[in-house]
């Protein structure tokens, strides 16, 4: 069925094709449980699969952070129940250093890749691209399905690595060699690292299949009248995200394959002059450079942070315009800044490497390019502010998260100006300042953007609303909690407190923050508990939430709100609507909102 629909998905062709989804909705004769819920090729179902898998990962990754925050906040206490669940990794109720490093590594990997890349892009690219551009499904629903199932396999491999005897990878989410290449140097670099590399390879495949599909769909399957400059900003953001992923993930994969060779095939890409203290042996490898891996890694690693933040920017722009009842300010500038960020994302990777012995002149080029990114980012922030200005703001839960996103993005973006400046990076590199910076600007911001999207499109996904009161509690606790957790970390970072330390009691330079660490850990646990409430709200509302009664509950302009409340596979019963205007005619000519499908009036100004 879907192939048929896809072939005729193009706007110009579809007019002549009758589509029977409305009549057959929900009980199509060919649909079985397996094809509808498991190996589904419907982009809306794949979206939900990504979202729910991402949520499971988020709970797991978040729980890991609770465990190691427990260690950081209460270094003197013992927690016998930890030994019950972690066994030898928490001997005597204290998290062992090996376990601590495994936890921080997996926390980073899980949240960066499996939640904020797979979960965020996977969910909203799948959901919104066909619905907002006016297509019946993705260009290739089959590849789309494969994309999810590769993600699933990657997840299985990654989860399995948690249970092997030598534990999961423990060399940090960046897994720099030689540490990650040498099992003798770290127990986490034994079997766990192979699982990590395999899991990441499968993840890259998933991401490429998805990304190519998203790009193809956006370029080729827009409905009649949907020119590129009429696309909602969500689609633009997802388009650039996919482009970034397609161009940078292969580089990571190649880097990881070389790492695999170094681990098992005796090559020396990253290894040279190594004597392992534990075994008292000198390795035969000579001539490799561990810095090569860092270049390859960060060539993905830096675009990766934009892969995480761009979709959130898109979702926020859309939600902010709808709930301010105003057009997004500076639509073209928003696209231009997304484009500038995308280009610059590829040109700044070495700012992660200022203190690796990089040539200072080369460093200075990267300083310039890095700080250039602040210009498009500033444009975006001011445009969001102007969108709010003289609006008529409705604080739906999604809107709150959108405003929270902007606040977090400002705070985290400004600390980026510190770190991008190599002079300051000398002092701040690998301290809690950087932890605070990237958690605020890509961790919390991206999460707020994701929540914003989930609350806003939940009615479209499930035909029900989420509970408002729980949503408001969720927002305020998360938002205030995130500031309470990460704001003080800047001070720890200014004091030079290094990241990735199990405890600081042995240091006279860093042990002045014991109280603060306890405070941060306590808040982190509260915030985590509230996320569980969100998850509960989500699943409860799928089945018991207040039902959506109108087709367009938020009075929005975009095409997804012209579909039935429960759209079937194919999205629109009958013809795909034709588009006549951009997505942001809110408050124009005295009208609250004008759907994209409404033809331009005779004397109406084009935006």
């Amino acid at each position: 069925m879907s192939t048929d629909l896809t072939i005729h998905g193009h706007g110009e062709m579809v007019g002549s094709q009758p589509v029977h989804d409305a009549e057959h909705e929900g009980h199509h004769h060919k649909e079985t449980f397996i094809t509808k819920y498991v190996f589904s090729q419907d982009h809306k179902m794949i979206c939900k699969q990504f979202l729910i898998t991402g949520m499971i990962w988020a709970i797991l990754g978040g729980f890991m952070s609770v465990l190691f925050r427990l260690q950081l906040g209460y270094p003197e206490s013992t927690f016998p129940w930890l030994e019950d669940i972690l066994g030898k990794w928490a001997k005597g109720g204290k998290i062992q250093p090996e376990a601590y490093y495994a936890l921080v590594t997996m926390h980073g990997t899980v949240l960066v890749f499996f939640v904020l890349t797979g979960g965020l892009s996977g969910t909203f690219a799948n959901f919104l691209i066909p619905l907002q551009i006016g297509a019946r499904d993705m260009a290739s629903p089959f590849l789309n399905m494969l994309s999810y199932w590769f993600f699933w396999m990657a997840s299985v491999v990654m989860i399995t690595s948690l249970f092997i005897e030598t534990g999961p990878a423990a060399g940090g989410w960046t897994s720099y060699p030689p540490l990650s290449a040498l099992g003798d140097a770290s127990i986490g670099s034994q079997g766990g690292m192979d699982y990590w590399i395999t899991g990441m390879a499968l993840f890259v495949v998933s991401s490429l299949l998805g990304g190519l599909n998203y790009i193809t769909t956006i370029l080729n399957m827009r409905t009649k009248g949907m020119s590129m400059t009429r696309l909602p900003l969500t689609i633009w953001a997802l388009f650039f995200t996919a482009t970034l992923g397609v161009l940078s993930f292969p580089v990571l994969l190649s880097g990881l394959i070389l790492l695999l060779f170094d681990r098992h095939a005796g090559t020396s890409f990253y290894l040279s002059d190594i004597f392992i203290s534990a075994t008292q042996k000198a390795l035969p490898n000579e001539g490799g450079s561990p810095i090569l891996f860092q270049h390859l890694f960060w060539f993905l690693g830096h675009p990766e942070v934009y892969i995480i933040i761009l979709p959130a920017m898109g979702l926020v722009s859309e939600v902010m315009a709808i709930n301010s009842r105003k057009p997004i300010f500076g639509y073209m500038a928003m696209i231009g800044s997304l484009f500038a960020i995308t280009i610059l994302a590829f040109l700044v990777w070495a700012h992660h490497m200022f203190v690796t012995g990089l040539n200072p002149f080369l460093g200075s080029v990267f300083v310039l390019l890095t700080l250039l990114i602040a210009v498009p980012s500033a444009i975006k922030v001011f445009n969001w502010l102007t969108t709010l200005w003289r609006g008529n703001i409705r604080f739906t839960p999604a809107m709150l998260f959108a405003i929270g996103f902007v606040s977090m993005f400002i705070s985290g973006g400004l600390t980026g100006v510190f770190l991008g400046n190599s002079t300051l990076d000398i002092h701040l590199h690998d301290t809690y300042f950087i932890i605070a910076h990237f958690h605020i600007v890509m961790g919390v911001s991206a999460f707020l953007g994701m929540f914003c999207g989930v609350y806003h499109w939940f009615p479209k996904m499930y035909g029900r609303y989420m509970n408002n009161t729980m949503s408001y509690i969720h927002f305020w606790v998360t938002f205030a909690g995130a500031y309470l957790i990460f704001w003080p970390m800047h001070y720890e970072g200014l004091a030079g407190m290094p990241r990735r330390y199990v405890e600081y009691s042995g240091w006279s330079t860093f042990n002045q923050f014991a109280d603060l660490n306890r405070f941060i850990s306590t808040v982190a646990m509260i915030v985590f508990a509230v996320q569980l409430m969100f998850v509960f709200n989500f699943f409860y509302s799928i089945f018991k939430g207040r039902k959506v009664t109108s087709q367009n509950p938020w009075q929005a302009n975009t095409l997804e709100w012209t579909t039935p409340i429960h759209p079937g596979h194919g999205n629109w019963p009958g013809e795909i609507p034709e588009v006549h205007r951009w997505a942001y005619d809110y408050g124009k000519d005295g009208k609250d909102f004008i759907l994209q499908t409404e033809p331009l009036g005779a004397d109406e100004q084009h935006h």
Binding site: P178, F275, P327, I328, I379, H427, T469, Y491
Partner: protein, 355 residues
Amino acid sequence: MSTYFLIAILLLGFVITFQIAKASEYVGILKGEKKNNEQNNRINGFLMILFLVLGLIGVYWCNELFKGKILGKSASVQGEKIDQMLYITIAITGIVFFITQILLFWFSFKYQYSEKRKSFYFPHNNKLEVIWTVVPAIALTVLVGFGLMYWFQITGEAPRDAMQIEITGKQFNWIYRYPGKDGVFGKKYYRNISDAENNSLGLLWDDPATHDDLVVSSAMYMVVNQPVKLIINSRDVIHDVGIVQFRMKMDAVPGTPTTMWFTPKYTTQEMKKITGNPDFEYEISCDQMCGKGHFSMKGIIQVVTPEEFVLWRAKQVPNYVSVMKDKMPAPAPADSAKTAALKGEIPAKLVAVTP
């Protein structure tokens, strides 16, 4: 027991929240959607402005609380430049931070939904957009300019009279090497490393330049007000030499030596007085994750006066000498070598203390 108690309280709290949430949904339906939304809107609008006020107070309070605990006085000349850069950046970003955050929450509060208000159709304005492209660009040019000026000063060539010390990271401690009186580091090769034979750096004894090299692991001694150039090596994985008081940091990469240089301004004794902490030590922290003992990979730096340095050095036995002593039970040759090392005259560069 207390764990279960805590879990029970959490669950109870959650059930209560859930019940309230459900009840308020029913109340909302009874009140009518429109009225309910308006009420929610007013509450959240108020919370926005409350968050702004509390947030600003919180920022101030956090500053007061921690300002004595963070940077302290920079103990190196280069660190002072970094501090200066930090203050310039804090000033510029601070202004932007306050303006944008205040506008964000103020707009949210001020333009919250009202039946009477019509939103203002304002899709774009070229003048405004040019302003906020150009102004950030100028601000960043200033930051890049200052940043690179300091960057090149700090990362430029070390002065000729800099004392050279080699520092090598290994899981999980630091080894320091001084070139000895010939001022030349002898050759080394990693396959020669043998902790059992007391050759932790793999020095090649065939090279006579190694014979007077001092290999020390207790502390790194350096002279106040004399530039120090560190030649940084690693024996196994990537480490990082981080010295907070000097605001200095550089990776130790196996196979690729790196360098950094700085001029310590205060001796350890002076820093004890400056910080008011009788236990003060300059600590080298490993700032690049290097395995399970990463958090304990500490080195100590002793910044001393030139006289103290000479005294300290006179007490050190070159690595070569102690190795030969171990190998040969006959004490005679080793002793003579030791005396020769002890007699090593004060190097010229120690006398010429830089201003």
